[in-house]
């Protein structure tokens, strides 16, 4: 929270909860008030990088990192020209290379790396592919079509559901009404006693309710689609799950063996038992508090003394 601050007036989000940062194409944030002051004439220079900016280029910062905002801006601009589709390429490889190039350009522009060269590259691309860019500008991408189709399907299915619900409600009401009438009719004309008739009807009612419940249960069987429209468990969909990696043999533990190229060093227990520790300085209280013990230093010294003593034999 404290990190959010205007670089010009130094107001922080903590001191002024209403603080709203804005960014322009250079990606440097400025608070709402400062924008009003600095850009009173409609245009001015960025207070951080001194780049000329227009006031109406400012918008509220959505992401914490202003660089992200800048990147989004640049991406939008770049994608306007780099609008080739997968169908425009002969192989997937070429398409991927093209995507990589686009990402590269966006990254370079965002981070001010070889800006001139990159802009030249963009211009060159625009010149080379003028007809394709214009052609693609109006065309829907494959993703657009898919999203549209999904939306339509979703709307249709929800309409259907509402319709069904309405019909069922109506039927239930009718049934209830009919039942009541039946009961009264029977009370009027039957020879059985009133108590018997009521008990019989209650039983019938119970059965009806049970049947309904069962139906409801059947209706609420697991959904076949996500809310995003992706079919569950259906084969042949365009969103195939990632293929499972080939079954690898289970992990086998192998103890770590370090070749110290020398005589074996005594273990930590041996350091104590053989009296190595008597010959080094004991750890001070402060050092012990930090988890340091004299045997650590001792072990290290001995290890480095023995490690490599065999170096140079048999050609290594």
């Amino acid at each position: 929270m404290d990190d959010i601050a205007c670089p010009r007036c130094k107001t922080t989000k903590f001191r002024n909860p209403a603080l709203k940062l804005m960014v322009n194409q250079c990606g440097h944030p400025l608070c709402e008030k400062c924008v009003e002051i600095v850009f009173i004439k409609g245009s001015g220079n960025c207070t951080t990088c001194n780049v000329l900016l227009r006031r109406n280029g400012f918008r509220f910062q959505v992401f914490d990192d202003p660089i992200v905002e800048k990147e989004l801006d640049i991406r939008k601009k770049v994608l306007k020209d780099f609008n080739a589709r997968e169908e425009d390429f002969a192989t997937l490889r070429e398409y991927n290379d093209y995507l990589e190039m686009v990402e590269d350009i966006v990254f370079k522009l965002t981070n001010n790396i070889e800006v001139d060269a990159t802009r030249r590259k963009i211009d060159q691309y625009k010149k080379d592919n003028k007809s394709m860019i214009n052609k693609n500008r109006g065309r829907q991408t494959k993703d657009d079509i898919l999203v549209e189709r999904l939306l339509e399907e979703e709307k249709m299915s929800s309409d259907l559901r509402v319709d069904q619900q309405k019909r069922e409600d109506l039927e239930r009401k009718k049934a209830l009404l009919k039942e009541k009438e039946d009961l009264i009719d029977e009370l009027m004309f039957s020879d059985l006693s009133a108590a018997q008739i009521v008990a019989l009807h209650d039983k019938q009612k119970q059965e009806l309710l049970e049947k309904e419940e069962q139906e409801a249960k059947e209706r609420s069987r697991p959904a076949t689609a996500f809310s995003t429209g992706i079919k569950l468990g259906s084969k042949g969909s365009e969103f195939l799950p990632v293929k499972k990696a080939a079954e690898a043999p289970p992990y086998e533990y192998k103890p770590l063996i370090i070749d110290i190229m020398g005589p074996p060093a005594p273990t930590v227990e041996e350091l104590e038992d053989f009296g190595y520790l008597n010959h080094i300085r004991g750890a001070e209280e402060q050092e012990k508090a930090g988890g340091f013990e004299s045997k650590i230093a001792c072990e290290r010294a001995i290890q480095s003394a023995l490690c490599g003593l065999y170096f140079g034999i048999d050609g290594n």
Partner: protein
Amino acid sequence: MFSSSTQKKHWMFSNERDLAKLRESSNTNYIQKMIARDGKPPTEDVYDTFLLPLEEKMLYRHYEFLLREFCKKFTPAVPKAVIGTSLAYFKRYYLRNSVMDLHPKQMIITCMYLACKVEEFNISITQFVNNVKGDREKAQDIILTNELLLIQHLQYHLTVHNPYRAVEGLLIDTKTRMSHIIQDADNLRPLIDDFLDRMLLTDASLLFAPSQLAMAAIVYAVNKAHFDSNEYLNILFQDAPPDKLTHARRICKEMHQMIKAIEMPAKEQVKQIEKKLEKCRNQDNNPDSAAYKRKMEIDDDNSRLAKQGRYEDSME
């Protein structure tokens, strides 16, 4: 641990011949590079202009000595590991780089500064350059420009295993297991330190494991103090196969010979070589040269241009 370190993997060589070959090839590489850039020197023999591999060797030996002295005189006093590490960096750098490319007097302070960092000897750059005689601001510039270059040439292998901790381990071991043959092992310390100090001026750290250096130092000190070094090695290698023991005896002898064979180049010789070096060194890396200043200006211009470009882009 040395046996799994980059030091063992990348910076250990089997004999001095390999080292000499590497250095010779960096010498020829530099000369070829310079000839390709500036054209052939006027005389027939390239070594009239450029340094011979032998002259290079004398020069870096001399500067190794200077680096060691610089470390020793340093205030505040540095731990031994810093000295060992900085010399290791120096040796590693000039294995694959020519002395003519970057002057060793620039490299020694850079190595030392980096070693202070890596060995966690906390010191600020201002405090550091207070130890440098002469223009401190220039020294600071030199260190900061060359530091990253050095790290790159070290292939980012910054951890250096020094023999000093191994010595401690062996001494603890001696006090624990061999007190019957070596009394008062702490009295050996001056002799051991002297041995390791001299070892810094040889290529031993590129040929032997740190623990082997430590072992040779102790054997040297044990001999000097008239104890039984044979018995010492017997106990140290009591669990090892016999060939390891003979190997250990051999490398100890080798190292003792290396120590005896150290000869420092005479001062007049060094002066002469340095004079020659002034003519053939890479002027791009000489902070006093016109070429260096021009290079720096170009760099400045470039960064200014880049900034301007960004500004104009945003105006669109």
